[in-house]
Amino acid sequence: MPSVKYIELTRAAFSSQGFPPYEWVVNKTAPFTPFEKNLKECRVSLLSSGGLYIRGKQEPFDPNKNDLTFREIPKDIDVGELAISHNNYDHADADSDVNCVFPIERFRELEKEGHIGELSPVNYTIMGRIFRLTALKNELAPQILSRLKVNHVDVFFLVPV
């Protein structure tokens, strides 16, 4: 299946801004925890890197890069309260319908129809474009993992942008 070569595009953009070529992480293997539960009994939590935050109640993200913070979005949020702080994708469609990048209303419907056990009371958003990989791995990722464990999350559903 043909698809856009984002690695080449990002490298070209970095070079044109005078930075050294960006090195993407190359992994040969992946960790794996078998999924053995019944989805209808699972608590599912959602993470989007679309840069969403609660307008007037949470700090907007640094829209450029390397914001290592996350926002917690309650499951019953009125999506009209969400705004996007992110300079690296066209979020005109997501501004009008957040479900393009943070499908929280669809997850509430899937909970209602019994497709999943429940949507987690707490869901998460970050701003992508984090190039400080050591800090991402050693700070942000473990912080999110520990929040998921506190909230007894069974499945983590990630929506990168």
Binding site: V4, L9, P31, T33, D93, L136, L148, V153, F156, L158
Partner: protein
């Protein structure tokens, strides 16, 4: 995002990632992914197209259940515009 998925999976919680950048996903290798070839900003579908958004999410949950090989990417069949890939040429221009 792939690195966060890997950390969470290592911590014992199964993950599923929806990707619109296949080359990045191939490189970073999150544990389980579905790929949807849409312009960035539409990872879980087009605005106000509830049926498409639900289909993508349900396909992703099917992949969560079916993927047994770590790092697998399942390609979803949806096209941004039927038989027209002009958006990809515009991104690359």
């Amino acid at each position: 995002m792939g690195l966060i998925a890997r950390t969470v999976e290592e911590g014992g919680i199964p993950t599923l990632s929806v990707s619109s950048a296949r080359d990045i996903t191939e490189s970073v290798k999150p544990p389980r992914s579905v790929f949807i070839n849409f312009p960035l900003g539409h990872t879980t579908g087009k605005p106000f197209d509830r049926d498409l958004q639900i289909k993508i999410i349900k396909d992703a949950f099917d992949a969560l259940k079916s993927i047994k090989e770590p790092g697998t990417i399942v390609d979803l069949p949806y096209q941004w515009q039927d038989g027209d890939d002009s958006w990809e040429r515009e991104v690359c221009a």
